[in-house]
């Protein structure tokens, strides 16, 4: 018996289709796994199932009009995507927004980040095979969606930012509801750890799976919690502060293990940090206008503009090339998911098929942002 169970046994290489309709690909992502037995040798990707050519559409729209398209990229970080475009145009035109706008934007970003991480916590656990965390994650996310609905008028694709400020002022209930939410979340977050973080099955599925070291994480262009799980200090909120992030105290969470479990722990700790940022700001929202008046037709001076923000999945960037026209000449969205996906092949080389699911969910992909 023993002589058959050696490492030298090679089976015929074959391909396995994962997706486009696979529950763990969180959308329509198609992976072609090249397998040797159950070991993954290589992963080829076939993207574009939800490609809407948003970058081309932007070339036919004015700067005010392109903001709502960014909601449809990473729909779980829609506020940050909006903010990036608004900031890029404001910077290019030299528009200074009031303090109130900066604080509102920061708070909305952190609420969005918490909601996104809460959703990720649920679906990550579900990919591994646990159902209860899914209910926990969605319970907290629902409260944030309610806050968003009151102020922005929408729960998911908020379209709340505009050039020069935000679309509406805060709802009178906003402060009270955020305070209630912080109190609620602080009580519930320890449950997240209790039910999943120390679960032995979960740990065995996540630990030492999908390893990537620090140098490679940078070279492969990883960002966000995925890179911070490898010890890369890359939080745009710290490195290139924008909005009100320079006036709040928070820690950049990094872990050095570089595996799926480290990425999991980064996101859990980031939820605590988001709460702390919200707590610092909720009683200190400055009085003033929620927008400044801008010209009806905005024309960016000729040049190449770039703005990066920290979305829930990493560094989201907007690159606008302008020729001085009211329409942008070229708009490129630097998608954190697309960049993170480029390391999938590296992370998944030599793992088992089931681990690909764990890795995919630990880098937290959102397919509409990959396809754009």
């Amino acid at each position: 018996m023993g002589e058959f169970l050696t490492d030298n046994i090679k089976t015929q290489e074959y391909f396995l289709n994962m997706g486009p309709q696979h529950p763990a690909t969180h959308g329509v992502l198609r992976l072609l796994l090249q397998l040797n037995g159950e070991i993954v040798e290589n992963i080829d990707m076939d993207l574009g199932y939800v490609h809407r050519s948003i970058e081309k559409m932007c070339e036919h729209d004015t700067y005010q009009q392109i903001i709502h398209l960014t909601d449809r990229l990473d729909y779980l970080s829609s506020h940050m995507n909006n903010e990036a475009v608004a900031l890029a145009v404001e910077k290019g035109l030299g528009i200074e927004v009031p303090d109130r706008v900066k604080v509102i934007r920061t708070m909305m970003s952190e609420l969005t980040r918490f909601a996104s991480h809460a959703l990720w916590y649920g679906v990550n656990a579900m990919d591994i095979g646990a159902i209860t965390p899914f209910m926990y994650g969605f319970r907290e996310r629902e409260l944030i969606n309610d806050i968003m609905e009151e102020t922005c008028g929408a729960r998911l694709t908020m379209n709340y930012n505009k050039v020069g400020g935000v679309r509406y002022d805060l709802h009178p209930n906003f402060q009270k509801k955020v305070k209630d939410f912080i109190k609620h979340a602080r009580k519930k977050l320890p449950d997240y750890d209790a039910v999943l973080s120390n679960n032995i099955i979960f740990k065995k599925r996540m630990k030492n799976v999908g390893f990537i070291d620090k140098d490679n994480a940078v070279l492969y262009g990883l960002s966000g919690p995925t890179a911070r799980g490898s010890g890369v200090s890359c939080d745009v909120r710290k490195v290139h502060p924008y909005s009100a992030y320079d006036r709040v105290q928070f820690n950049e969470i990094t872990f050095t293990e570089g595996d799926s479990y480290a990425r999991y722990r980064v996101r859990i700790r980031e939820m605590w940090e988001s709460l702390s940022i919200l707590e610092q700001l909720v009683d200190n929202i400055p009085e003033g206008d929620y927008k400044v008046k801008t010209k009806a037709v905005l024309k960016l001076p000729e040049g190449s503009y770039y703005q990066k923000v920290e979305s829930a999945r990493g560094e989201f960037g907007v690159h606008i090339l302008s020729r001085g026209d009211k329409l942008p000449y070229r708009v490129k969205f630097r998608s954190p998911n697309f960049a993170n996906l480029s390391a999938l092949n590296k992370m998944a080389k030599g793992v088992k098929i089931a681990d690909v699911v764990a890795i995919l969910s630990s880098i937290d992909i959102v397919v509409p942002d990959i396809d754009r």
Binding site: D44, M45, S53, R334
Partner: protein
């Protein structure tokens, strides 16, 4: 390094670089034949240490096609934009940067798909989003599609 120091350093390497500062970051235009050697120097030089390629944009400049590569150094946090243009619209070809920054691997596939720029040395250029049977390169300015596109 500040933009001025970067400019001085890079001009010492090549004399045909063109610097522009209209916009957010320092922009340097390099000829296609020097692209790869400049990229290698930018990464390996200890004072530059550009190790993080964060944005790779294909652009149709009208007469020319080209790419704009955003680079950052995680050690010094300076940022540089590398621009290259080729005037050959029929069969545009540039050097691939994926050996220097693996992040460029998928990005170059995307640029190939949307602009038709071939990357010398890229092992796996395929139409990542549009599929092999798609005709034309949709993000080029002269692309026409009477069925799927509405021009206002």
């Amino acid at each position: 390094m500040t933009n001025e120091e970067l400019k001085n350093k890079l001009s010492g390497w090549y004399n045909d670089l063109r610097f522009t500062e209209t916009g957010t970051y320092l922009n340097v235009e390099v000829s296609p034949k020097n692209l790869k050697s400049l990229a290698e120097k930018l990464k390996s030089d200890p004072d530059c240490a550009f190790n993080y390629l964060f944005c790779y944009t294909g652009v149709d400049f009208g007469e020319e096609l080209g790419v704009m590569v955003h680079l950052e150094s995680t050690a010094f946090r300076h940022i540089l934009v590398l621009t290259t243009k080729t005037s050959d619209r029929e069969n545009p070809e540039l050097d691939s940067l994926h050996e220097i920054w693996p992040a460029a691997f998928l990005q170059e596939m995307e640029v190939f798909d949307f602009f038709g720029i071939k990357f010398k040395g890229h092992p796996h250029l395929k139409r990542l989003f549009m599929g092999e049977e798609w005709k034309g390169y949709p993000l080029r300015k002269d692309y026409v599609d009477n069925v799927n596109m509405i021009i206002r």
